[in-house]
Symmetry: C2
């Protein structure tokens, strides 16, 4: 393939700041691929970030996350705001079909220069998503997005990570998945800043709303100062119904955080999650290096062999790995 | 709640070896909860393990993983084999509903003393699944399971982990998700030891089989010795059709691995994945300790504040974390 020309990062960052979609896309690709130049990129972006609000959307498959995200984009654009969308896909070689379908629904925004849409996959790097998503957020921030919507696809640890990244987290529910509300119990109360009961034209919407409100009444905690009470908004995202209410709820949450001098929490949480993810990726790479050393009779391979032979338990083996990594 | 009586691990292990379901369940709960006594448990189980074959089942949502797993249990039981099932659920507060539905389908095996069925969740511990699943496998192995089926629920990094744990990996597909086959491209070829095209009575089954075979013909690699060619089995799991063929394919793969002196690969891969997961969990805990130190002005919190203020880039902050962890 010959030699690959060096990427001109400064040029890309300058173009991204002008809102050139291709530059934004290339920068996010660098992030996703774990480019060795990410340090440089972080430094180049830093002066141009700190403005975008991050809104996370999460919920079970089938509640309508993509449709709601798309409807939110429409509403925010009508309001003149520049919008980024990061659809966070857990890494999987098997997820292609469904995800492509989801992305197609975003098609209406594909030609709007005020919208950047990007699916993020970890491409098999464990922990990669946690490190890559904050960096992709910085790219969109530098590109002038007022709001970045981070949508999780599917269920999994990615939700937890997305919550750590968002200034405001929307938990989506749908009627008829009411068992889920019960099963999820306290979990969703803790992460939600706003609830959206989507498909609210279906039977059972009232029951879902009531159930949520009941759960919240049981879980009120006023310890440590006043707390935000998550509003419950009814939406029919496919028809655009209730989306303005959802935008209002998002803005209300932001205003409340500002009034309580808590706007800094989201950025600090993001920075913390990112530092931790980068540090862990570094430590993981050091562990992997152990397996590379000495060829096939590598340190990690040898330890595994001793565990299989019953000479060593996996905890003792892990202790040796940690000692090696700690130098 | 008063003091919790100490668990008698030796007694539990002895009972589990007798096949007492409650003992098996309690041991797996200890594993899942990250009990501080896992080291002890690993040592107590070690002499009684090394016999079970691990079969991983993976594929997109909707292809019929639970139904196929259940049908496989029936077939293996008819064959007189003791069977364990671990349904690996990515941790999520939102996944309750669908998962409960899946588990209900396993109900027919609930009263069979030769079957142990367990859902595994990470309960929010990142990396927890990777560490906990091998340990749960050891419990089922010690409990006398001849075969343990590890089924992933949903998509995500869990697939990658399951592949690392299995002796034989079954990738399930279904007709009409053919776009998925294209999208997934090489990914599924690399992880599959056996393909099952489920719902094979539906339109498009032939096309899916052909597409798979075509992809395999393009991807044949004979580098480094002969390679196993994954068979493609047609099943209608809900009717039990083709399940005997699937069992035969699993046994063929095992026989081929034995003939090529490669039976040790699965156990070594499992041990390696487990050692790495435990080591990473240890290192992660050390990072978290940094955030606990010095109260709210903690080391990690302070670094995050400096990143937000633009005084430090996240990579430099992570370097400081890694240095601290490495002591």
């Amino acid at each position: 393939m010959g030699s690959v020309p060096a990427v001109d990062l400064d040029r890309l960052v300058a173009d991204a700041r002008e809102g050139v979609p291709r530059a934004v896309g290339r920068l996010i690709s660098l992030v996703e691929d774990g480019s060795p130049r990410l340090r440089e990129l972080a430094a180049a972006l830093a002066p141009h970030t700190g403005r975008a609000r991050v809104v996370g959307l999460t919920g079970s498959p089938g509640v309508g996350k993509s449709t709601t995200t798309s409807a939110l984009v429409t509403a925010l654009r009508a309001d003149g705001r520049r919008v980024g969308v990061l659809a966070v896909d857990p890494s999987s070689p098997f997820s292609g079909g469904a995800l492509l379908g989801d992305r197609v629904r975003m098609g209406e925004h594909a030609t709007d220069p005020g919208v950047f849409i990007r699916s993020m996959a970890t491409r098999g790097h464990l922990g990669g998503l946690a490190a890559a998503t904050p960096q992709a957020l910085r790219v969109l921030d530098a590109a002038g997005c007022d709001v970045v919507l981070v949508e999780t696809v599917g269920v999994g640890q990615s939700e937890v990570e997305v919550v750590a990244l968002a200034d405001t987290t929307v938990v989506l529910l749908a009627p008829g998945m009411g068992d889920g509300v019960q099963a999820a119990k306290a979990g969703i109360l803790e992460v939600a800043d706003v609830f959206a009961v989507n498909k609210a034209d279906r039977d059972g919407a009232d029951a879902t709303v009531r159930e949520l409100q009941h759960m919240m009444s049981l879980n009120r905690r006023e310890v440590g100062g006043p707390s935000w009470r998550p509003p419950v908004v009814r939406t029919v995202a496919s028809a655009g119904t209730g989306i303005d209410d959802l935008v209002t709820a998002l803005d209300d949450h932001r205003a409340w955080m500002a009034d309580h001098d808590r706007l800094g929490e989201g950025p600090r949480r993001r920075a913390r999650a990112e530092i931790e993810a980068i540090a862990l990726a570094d430590l993981r790479a050091r562990i992997r290096e152990l397996s590379g050393r000495l060829g096939s009779g590598s340190a990690l391979g040898e330890l595994a062999g001793r565990v299989v032979a019953g000479e060593l338990d996996p905890y003792a083996a892990a202790d040796e790995v940690v000692s090696s990594v700690r130098g």
